[in-house]
Every structure is written in C-alpha cells, then in structure tokens.
Symmetry: C2
Subunit: 477 residues, 2 copies
C-alpha cells in the first residue's frame, strides 16, 4: 500500500472534493509548483498555467526511474519500434514519460517480469492522439463560428415535436450519444432512448414512427448498424439525423439531415477530437431546440467561452501530469491494470469514454460508472491496486460524487478528482478552470481527461496510436 | 500461455460456437464424462445430466491441488472464517472447490504470493447464494402458476397505448430493466428508454407524460431514486408500475400497479433469484401486452417448459463445473482478475449481470458487452489472462457472437461459451438444454451462468454471501 493510499484511508471522512486536503508526496522537485490548496478559486486557472511553465523549466535532465511490476497475464506492451514517445505541451516544453522501455523476464516460475523505466531519447514527434486532443480546441472554435448550420438542425428537430428521441452510436460515438441522451431530454422535454441496435439488425423489430426522431452518431459514417437504424427509421417516417465527420458518407446520405463534425481527418485510432466535436454539436443542436420550444437554454449562454475553458483545462491537466511524473502516485496509476472512472449526469458520458480510452490505449481495464451505479455492486471491486478517476465539475451532482469518493477511499482505491471548485491542483485532484456547471462542463473535462489518459498510455510504454487489435473504422451489425 | 489458449488461437478460424471442436485437456478423471462433441443435439440435455451424476460418483477423494498466482495488487481474498465452502448439486453429490485456503507470501520483491489449493473439510452448509440460485426454479414455477395477476398488468400497460416506455433500476435490477428494455420494445412496438435517474434526482428535469409508462425495478422497493422517479412520473400522469419483492414497500405504495416478485426472502447480498424472477415477470407482462395489442407473442408459447429448462441448465452448469475442477482451464478462470462476458440482444442483460456478479462475489473485474460493442474498442483489453464467457443461445445473434468469439480467440482470451446448439459440453463450452431461442432463453442462461460464477467465487476462496463493501439494500439518489 502506498503512503498516498494510507493517507486516503485516514483522511476519508474529512477530505472533500470541494476542499481537498491531500498534497503531493512524490520526489519530483517540479511537483512543488502544484502544491498548496489555499489559492483563491478564481486564480486557479492562472495558477495551473504558471505551474505548467514552472514544471517544464524546473524538470530535471533525467526523470527518476520507476519500476512497474508486470502481471504474469499482462499483454506485452507495444513497444514503440524505432520511435520514442514524448510530446510537447501547450507551452512547447518537452515532456518525457518516465517509464517506457526494456523488458526483463524472470526465469523462475514465481518471478514477476518487470518493466524498468528508462528515459528515452527526444527524437520523435508527439503521438498523433495527443496532437488531435489539442486540435479539438480549434475544432470547437470552428463549430461555434459555424453554429448557424447546427442550430438550424436543432430548430428542425423542435418543429417535429417528437414524443420520443432515439440516439445511437458505437464505442466513442455511443458515449457522445449518451451525452445527447441526457442533454436532449433536458432541452426537448421528452424521453430520450439509447437505441438497442440489435432489435433492428438482429431481430427485425422496428419501432420508429413519425412522432420519433433518430440521431445516429458515427465518426466514419460507415457503420452498417447505424445505417440500418437510419434506413429503418426514415422508412417509418421518423426524422433522421446523422452526426458524422464524413459529409459524403453512406450514413449522411441515408439520413434526412446531417450534422457535419468538421473535425478534420482523425488519424489516431482512438477517437478524441471527433468525440469532443460530437459533444459540442449536440450542445448546439440542443440549445437551439430548447430555444425554439421555449425551454431553458441558459446553460448554453457561455458557449463562446468554451474554447478558452478547454485551453485552460488542457493546461491544468498538463501541469498536473508534469508535476506528477516520477511521483509514487503517478507510478501507481501507471502500474494499475484496473481502474474506475466515475461521473454523474452530464459527466457520466465522459466517465464511460475515459474508461474506454484506458482500455483502447493503455491495456488496462477501465470501467466507467455513474456515482450511483458504482455503489450498487461495482464498488466491491475497488481496492488499493484499483485507482479511480472522479469527474466532479457539477454543483448539482457534487454530493453524489462525494459519497462515491468517500466509499472508494474507504475501499482503498487511490482517487484523482477532476474538479472545478476549491483550491489549486494537488496530488489527488486537478483543478479545472471555472465555468458554468452542467452540460458545457463536459467538453472541457473531456480534453483534460483524454490528455491524462494519453500520458498514462505513453507512461506504460504503449503507443496510443496503435491500440492492440483495433482499426479506425469498425463495422458491425 | 496455456495449451488451451494455444489451441484456441490455432483453431479460431475453424471452430464455431455451433460446432465446437475443443475437448477437455485437464487431468481430472471425471472430465471424461463430458468429452465428445458427436452426440446428437437432442440428446445433449440428458447427456449433461448423465455427466453430472458420473462426475459426482467418479470424483476422486481429494481434488488435485491447483496453484493460483495472486497479483501483487489483488485485494486479499476474504477467507471463509470458520466455514468451508462447498455445496450440493441437484443430484445431492457434494462438490468441493479445488482452490480455497492458505496464503503463502513470498519475501522477495519479485516473488508473487500464491494461494495453494487444499481440500476443505465437508462440514459446513452450501453458500446462501447457491441455495437461492437453485431456488429460482421454484420461484419461476410459482410465477407461472400465478400468471393471471401478471398478465393483467400487461393488459393494463397495453390499454394505455403508450408512445414510449421508460424502465429504471440499479445494479442487478438495472440489468433486469435492460431485459425489459429489449422485450417490451419487441412486445409493445414503441421505443423503450432506460431512465437516466439523475435527470430527475439531481437536475429536477421531468419528462414523463400521460403517453408514457414507467416501470421501476427494485428488489427491496426502498431505493430513494426509484421512488423519486415513480412519484415524478405518476404526478405527471404516466402509468407507473413497480417490480419489487416487497409488496408493502414505499416503491409499491408509490406506483399505480405493483408486480410482486414472490421470490421469498433473498438473504444473499448478491441478488440471484430476484433477478431471475424479474426477468420472468417482465416476460409474462410483455407477452400479455403483445397479445392485447395483436402483436407477436409466439416466443412466449413455451413458457410452461421454462422451469424444466432451467433445471437442465443448472445441471449442465454443475456438470461442467464438476468436470472442470482441477483442470488447467478452470484454474485459469480462477486466477484471472479480469474477465469479459459477451452477449447480444436478449442475452445482453445476462452479460451485464454476470459481469456484475463477478465483481460482487469474486473480486475480479468483470465487464459485460454486446458482441457488437465489444469490437468498438473494448476488444483491445482482451488477452491471455482475460478469459471471456460468451452467451450464444440465440440463432438470430449467432453470427454476431461467433465473430466476437473469433476476435477474442485471436487476441488470446480463453473463451467459455454457453450454447444451446451443437454437441455435448466440452472444455470450451457448456451445452444448455434445447428450447426456443429468443426472450425465454435468458432465465435458463441466467441460472447456469450464476451457478458458474458462484463456483468461481468459492474457487477463489471468496465467500459470495459477504461481498466486500456491499449491503443488501443500497440507497442512492
């Protein structure tokens, strides 16, 4: 058990998400820049940026070596053949993952093979995934500038006066669809269902009607199941909308209306900028629909600030990562083969997506739960070797998230909380920039969480651009 | 890599779920009874029973010792203080878990602690969980005998002519609700949505209407979130139905109509008989609603055979477990800290539920996926140390399941398939009794899968009746 875990157990009844009282206990001197929880909340964003620069300049020439024990049944890491994983942060400072290279195999049955950390030469470019995470800020700027075309689709949806909206997606797009499931029910005021695609594709059971709207999410627009759902719904008179990054794709052709993500080509297998683009497109559509129906859309008032908020969130994540590298805390996250991600409400889709990204890029089992569902069984699998990432950006769900955090701490899981209240980042939390709670927190949380997971992947010696057994476009029925 | 895994890789393109070609390679002499894949499909149920009896009588006096490697970060097993886990199968023969007791800790850093298998004295009763799994057959018999009261609620639902049905539950009841999500959409012909409870309880967003029906699932009837959903929906004019095992619970009081599960007191924390009762109650309601609406209910024609089918499924699982104990295959399942469960359509809820039960009772991370969703990312976390349980009982989804099985085999995951076609059980599959494919497969698959998981839990030295950090009734908002 690490000292961090011991402290979590001891402090559990006292420490809260809003007012964290844990501090970095690692050995990296750059960690000092992120210490202290007494800064005023309003200054935290600037503080995080200062930490980022400070961490980069104070970084020692060589990162401390960290020994990660490999489990006997662990899939061998995909070592980066001929390239060295590192990347540039927003300030241009290089960040070198502490743990990467060679494998030593024990010869005895009971010996556990280990991966010993070594600093890699700084010769190769950043990962594609990391570049696309950062690029999502410009993508969102573009969507906001071009919002009229998205709002028109929101108005079209509202004019249909649907009795029910059905959303559908697979993988990452499924999680964006679940964000739509929450936000559209809020905006339009009717139940929203996540499609059970197999009813159509496997059993031939069709339930769409002129009183329903189907929104199908697919980055590629090539998923046969999504196309089948749209064709079924359109044939039965529903309004069908495709959200896709391929404007001329079969899905776009099949649907009545297309929401083009305009995210540019996504080269990494692990979708990041298209995920964030899907979230923001849904928000723009939902806000327009809410206004057309005379329903609450105040949550969308600060949309213009979203790119800046995302920039601050990415900087806060980078600063935390730079400070944490070499610490025992971060080593614990890198060593874990099992992790939990917990959100609630509008942050629940991010919890699912971060968990999926952990699976796709780090080889670890990541599992996303709502703070309520976690307590109905899955909490039994928490423990010292099972770190948990908590997404606590929403005042409405803060109590629920805090109950979950305390239960995780009691179970022994080290927790890392992404939060928008309280003081500066510390060992157990990343302070994201201020901004309105609710639906528009999600894209800012997304960019920070995805950057964190990319750092975990490279820190585990994985190439997140080449996930085991995955291809960019997956076709299922 | 075990020889089983090697064979899986080699045979992947050839072996199918329908016609398995893997055979037990373990050392337990009782395994012989389950070998051979040439039996006619129709005789497989009887063959499984014969195997059960044969396995029990041929069982050696002491089970072979099996060494299970514990991961350094594994939560210490809850050793059964003062009791010895074993249970009686349907034929009354004792089954002794091969792997239970003492822990030896290595002193060096690189040494992995091991749990060495020892036969336990046969002095204590079966686990409560196991008893309640078996008791579910009688519960289902009772529900079928008393079907008129359930069918009346199905007719009431149909008469409402809803535009949308919303189902809600937490934990195990969530998975029964998802079964309802599939089956009610089939039966009633309108979209069915899984409730996002936080919209009501955290954000105060209400969307129920007189054109909607809400069905809330709660074994205890005490969940504050389920009660809040019912109160909100009823206030807004929706028809509200409670499925609960407590007829006088607050949830039952709050709802317009109550579906009483009549499962008797459930003492184990891990819900099993109430889960199966929920599935069967939903099936009875859905069938009645379908008939009232003039829709297809042929799938419910063979309902009377369900208890016998469940009995056969439990016997098949017991026979497989008895044959597999002491084999390297079963040892691999016991050793795994991460497992996948894959289903599709009407078996998808079982995949989610088996995964939850793995978490609750074995300490392993179990994750349930649809065969399609698995390929959209999570397949990246498959591998040699990650066994997968596949639920392939449905002709409609067989191709989808077979694609998933092949992908898992290529990734190196050992697979165990629960199937209703092909020859007798073998090392890689359990042949469940014949019966109509579709909705009514689920309760039979459920009893077999839950028995398997109980055996994994006791085999890992866990007491499934006392899951870490869980209580019988969990209250969340």
């Amino acid at each position: 058990m690490t000292s961090w875990v011991k402290r979590s157990l001891k402090k559990a009844p006292v420490g809260g998400i809003g007012v964290p009282d844990w501090h970095i206990g690692g050995t990296d001197p750059s960690a000092a820049g992120a210490q202290g929880s007494s800064e005023a909340a309003g200054a935290a964003c600037c503080a995080a940026k200062a930490t980022l620069d400070g961490a980069a300049s104070a970084k020692p020439a060589t990162s401390p070596a960290v020994i990660i024990q490999r489990r006997p049944n662990m899939v061998p890491p995909c070592f980066l053949m001929g390239s060295s994983p590192h990347h540039h942060n927003a300030a241009g400072a290089r960040q070198v993952p502490a743990v990467v290279a060679s494998t030593e195999r024990g010869s005895g049955v009971a010996l556990t093979p280990t991966v010993r950390g070594e600093q890699m030469a700084n010769t190769a470019p950043a990962t594609i995934m990391r570049g696309e995470i950062a690029a999502s800020i410009e993508v969102v700027q573009g969507l906001i500038a071009d919002r009229a075309r998205l709002e028109a689709i929101g108005v079209q949806l509202a004019e249909r006066r649907p009795k029910v909206i059905v959303v559908a997606g697979r993988g990452t797009s499924d999680h964006a669809a679940i964000y739509g499931r929450y936000l559209l029910e809020h905006a339009v005021g009717v139940p929203v269902a996540l499609a059970a695609a197999s009813l159509v594709t496997q059993y031939g059971i069709e339930t769409a009607s002129p009183e329903s709207v189907l929104i199908a999410f697919s980055q590629s627009g090539a998923g046969p199941d999504m196309i089948a759902l749209v064709e079924s719904a359109r044939r039965r008179g529903a309004l069908t909308i495709a959200l896709t990054n391929e404007a001329a794709s079969p899905l776009a052709t099949a649907a009545d209306a297309t929401v083009y993500l305009a995210a540019g080509e996504e080269r990494a297998v692990a979708a990041t900028k298209t995920y964030i683009a899907e979230l923001v497109c849904v928000a723009l559509i939902a806000a327009a629909a809410a206004r057309a129906l005379g329903r609450d859309a105040a949550w969308a008032n600060d949309l213009q600030q979203l790119p800046e908020r995302m920039r601050g969130a990415l900087a806060a994540a980078d600063a935390w990562i730079a400070a944490a590298r070499g610490s025992s805390q971060f080593a614990g996250m890198l060593a874990a083969d099992r992790a939990l991600v917990v959100g609630r409400g509008f942050e629940f889709p991010n919890a699912l997506e971060f968990a999926l990204k952990l699976r796709e890029t780090t080889g670890a089992f990541g599992d996303g739960y709502s703070a309520a569902d976690l307590l109905h069984g899955p909490i039994a699998s928490a423990g010292a070797g099972v770190p948990a990432i908590l997404l606590a950006t929403d005042t409405a769900t803060m109590e629920s998230m805090e109950i979950a955090r305390q239960r995780l701490a009691v179970a022994g899981s080290p927790t890392l909380t992404l939060r928008t209240s309280g003081g500066a980042s510390d060992a157990a939390s990343i302070r994201l920039p201020d901004g309105p709670a609710g639906p528009l927190s999600a894209p800012a949380t997304a960019i920070a969480g995805l950057a964190l997971i990319e750092a975990i992947a490279t820190g585990r010696g994985r190439n997140p651009d080449a996930p085991a057994g995955l291809t960019k476009v997956t076709k299922t029925l």
